[in-house]
């Protein structure tokens, strides 16, 4: 099945050099181990001629190598794949595979040489001779030692022979053949091949004798080193040589070539041998050979097509797998991204909640401090108000009494009476202050209590008339409001008594609006200038009402009485 003996040699050299290289690289990575394992398997299958499996594992190894970006390994695997494709006649496929390897080539080395050589072989087999020569030349450039150059040079010569440029071929082959290095034992097969090709070139070029001499020399050398594969080629060349001189001899060589090729399952060589046999033989034998030729030719085309398809499929599957992997990876990445997003969202939500709680706590704290401050301020105001009252109403009188006691003879009955009178006056005032600031019963007696308090302002010259106080459902009104209302009414009454000189006061409780409790105070006193309201300590009442969310409106003018409207929300 092998296409040409030249490749196998090349592959052999190549394999050895590569295997050496692989050993040098320390493998720790899991992926690299995988790649190596695939490669070993592939090489094993290649040695046992299981091309499909070998191709499959080289491809796997390549995929693994791609994952770790080991360009050397990728190139090595691709070259092996290309070689397998060429062995099985898939030249277009091999060119494709080789092209795939090109981006990984960084410098001129054994790999680039191999690639160029394989390009050359593919082109040669596809009858693109000029390109083949070009690639072989490139391969030569990439080769460093002389022995390695021999392969491509020989190949160029073969191309020239195919192109019937025999002189050029002879020229090249002569230069190689004369190299002393070829006399080494290990390179004798090389020398035999070169001699054989040189002889064939001479023969084709017309130098028949010279050609026969060299071909025989090569044939002898091959027999000597038992290069069976090379012997087929020599046999074919000699068969061709004798075709026109001695048909029997030609047949003999062709038959020998056919037998050896059959042993090595080398179909191309068998076909060539058969074609000689067909040409040389008599009619009866001719038919037999022709039948065989057709059968072989058909089956090889079938097998090769089959291989082509299989290789393409392996590559395609691998690519598909790769794409699927990529899609999976993408999905995984997307999932991860989503998870991360959710995580971030959760974190954000968490932080937001905490912030909210903190803000809430701060707000609560702020307002509690504010209310506390307000309360402290309110009680402070009350304290200062009482202190002022004590100072204004009591301190003077007490001082006056002290002075009186110091200066007047207390023994005298008249003075004593006077002193007692003054002290009694002070006592009454103290009681008054106490009463004004006393605790307030906010229980069931509240309404009665308010009425009684208001009633204390009744006297012979003044009537305080109360309307509908019992209609208010006092048990539903909270204590703070009741206390505040009580104090405000008390203050209104005190002010009235002090300043208004009113003879009539009406205090009306209005419950007609379910949302509000309205209390109106009206007197027929002398009133005052509206702008002076604040001075009269009415600000204090306003403050009190505001703290329980109520409103208080004062309305007054000189000689028009005094009107107050208090609204408390229920």
């Amino acid at each position: 099945m092998l296409r040409s003996p030249f490749f196998s040699l090349f592959i052999f050299i190549f394999l050895i050099s590569c295997q050496e290289k692989i050993k040098e690289i320390p493998k720790t990575n899991k992926v690299s181990k995988e790649a190596l394992a695939y490669q070993k398997k592939a090489l094993h299958y290649l040695e046992t001629n299981h091309f499909n499996k070998a191709f499959y594992y080289f491809n796997q190894s390549k995929v693994a190598a791609e994952a770790m970006r080991d360009s050397n390994k990728i190139v090595y695997n691709l070259i092996q794949m290309a070689a397998i494709q060429q062995i099985n006649g898939d030249y277009y496929g091999s060119k494709e595979t080789l092209t795939e390897a090109l981006p990984y080539i960084k410098k001129k080395d054994l790999y680039s040489a191999a690639i160029n050589n394989y390009f050359g072989i593919a082109n040669k087999e596809l009858f693109i001779y000029d390109d083949a020569v070009y690639y072989y030349k490139e391969a030569i450039k990439d080769c460093e030692d002389e022995i390695a150059k021999n392969g491509p040079l020989n190949n160029i010569a073969v191309v020239y022979i195919q192109q019937k440029k025999y002189t050029k071929a002879i020229e090249i082959l002569n230069t190689i053949a004369n190299k002393a290095i070829l006399n080494q034992k290990s390179l004798k097969s090389n020398k035999a091949r070169i001699l054989d090709n040189l002889g064939y070139a001479y023969f084709k070029n017309g130098s028949i004798k010279n050609g026969l001499l060299l071909m025989n020399e090569g044939f002898a050398l091959r027999n000597q080193i038992d290069d069976s594969y090379g012997i087929i080629e020599s046999n074919l060349h000699l068969s061709e040589y004798y075709q026109k001189i001695d048909a029997n001899k030609s047949n003999q060589f062709a038959l020998q070539a056919y037998q050896t090729a059959t042993k090595f399952k080398s179909i191309d060589e068998r076909l060539r041998a058969l074609s000689f046999l067909i040409t040389n033989s008599t009619t009866i034998k001719n038919t037999k050979y022709a039948q065989k030729f057709i059968f072989l030719n058909d089956s090889i085309i079938k097998v090769r097509n089959n291989f082509k398809n299989k290789f393409a499929k392996i590559k395609y599957d691998s690519k598909k797998e790769k794409i699927e992997n990529r899609i999976l990876r993408l999905e995984k990445a997307q999932n991860l991204l989503m998870l991360q997003k959710i995580k971030y969202q959760r974190l954000l939500f968490f932080i937001g909640t905490i912030l909210l709680i903190i803000i809430l706590l701060l707000l609560v704290r702020y307002y509690s401090i504010k209310t506390k401050t307000e309360k402290i301020k309110a009680s402070y105001d009350t304290e200062t108000r009482i202190a002022k009252k004590i100072h204004d109403e009591l301190a003077n009188d007490v001082y006056h009494t002290i002075t009186f006691a110091q200066t007047q003879p207390i023994e005298s009955e008249q003075t004593k009476e006077n002193l007692l009178q003054q002290l009694d006056n002070i006592y009454m005032r103290v009681r008054g202050i106490s009463r004004e600031n006393n605790e307030i019963d906010t229980g069931i007696n509240y309404a009665q209590n308010v009425k009684d308090t208001i009633a204390t302002y009744n006297d012979s010259s003044r009537n305080v008339i109360v309307n509908n106080i019992e209609k208010v459902n006092w048990s539903l009104i909270d204590d703070t409001k009741k206390v505040t209302l009580y104090r405000v009414l008390q203050e209104l009454m005190v002010n009235m008594k002090k300043h208004s000189m009113a003879s009539l006061v009406v205090i009306k409780f209005d419950v007609s609006n379910p949302k509000f409790l309205e209390i109106s105070y009206v007197d027929n006193g002398k009133g005052c200038v509206a702008t002076e309201i604040i001075k009269n300590g009415l600000q204090n009442m306003e403050n009190r009402i505001t703290t329980i969310n109520g409103t208080i409106i004062f309305d007054t003018a000189p000689d028009k009485g005094f009107k107050v409207k208090i609204t408390l929300p229920n």
């Binding site: 006393n438 007696n445 204390t456 109360v466």
Partner: protein, 222 residues
């Protein structure tokens, strides 16, 4: 005259005054306590000894000090004593002048006298003790005597407002009874209405009905 008296008062000076008054009345058998709890114990002991007190004179408010007390106020003590010994005479003696508190004492604890501490309170105390010895009458200081009289409040209700409204729209007094009757409003008798109107005139210091209407409109009553 009372044989055995207990005085509950936390100020020594006042105690002295009361002691003086009692001595003036030839009452020599008297005890005093500065704490309600002590007083209550003494009263209970006296009952057990079969030598009960026949008069309790108690202040209402006591200053708080280091001692924990169960009976904090005179009101409470009086209430308990009245329950324990219903026949004892009780005089409340305090600066307290809140109407409802005084009323509560008279109504609920059935105290016999309420004396407002003042310039003349010692004299009043003597007077009260005399009164209580000779009769079952109650005594109350004149300054706060109004507390027990209900007449003191000038309260008007919706019915008064209704009358005033009708008067203001020119309804004659005579017809008002009939209108009320038609509307099903009670009371609607002529005499009741007359009484009401004259009471309103009193309240609003009006000389006549026209004056009354002028005043109530002026003051925003209707």
């Amino acid at each position: 005259m009372f044989k055995k008296v207990i005085v509950v008062e936390d100020f020594d000076s006042i105690n002295l005054g009361i002691a003086q008054a009692l001595q003036d009345l030839n009452i020599s058998n008297f005890d005093h306590s500065k704490y309600c709890d002590d007083a209550f114990l003494k009263i209970r002991k006296a009952i057990l000894d079969n030598e009960p007190y026949d008069l309790l004179i108690s202040d209402l408010s006591f200053k708080k000090d280091h001692r924990d007390v169960t009976i904090e106020s005179g009101d409470h003590l009086i209430q308990k004593v009245r329950f324990l010994q219903p026949n004892i005479k009780i005089i409340a003696y305090s600066v307290e002048e809140k109407n409802y508190r005084i009323k509560t004492l008279f109504q609920d604890s059935d105290i016999n006298a309420y004396i407002l501490k003042g310039r003349n309170s010692i004299e009043e105390l003597k007077k009260a003790i005399h009164l209580l010895t000779t009769s079952d009458n109650k005594y109350i200081s004149p300054e706060i005597a109004f507390v027990l009289k209900e007449k003191n409040n000038y309260e008007i209700d919706d019915f008064d407002i209704l009358i005033l409204k009708h008067l203001s729209t020119g309804t004659p007094q005579d017809e008002m009874g009939k209108i009320f009757k038609d509307l099903g409003i009670k009371p609607n008798s002529k005499s009741t209405l007359e009484k009401r109107i004259s009471r309103l005139k009193d309240f609003f210091k009006a000389n006549n009905t026209t004056h009354l209407i002028a005043i109530v409109i002026d003051m925003g009553v209707i």
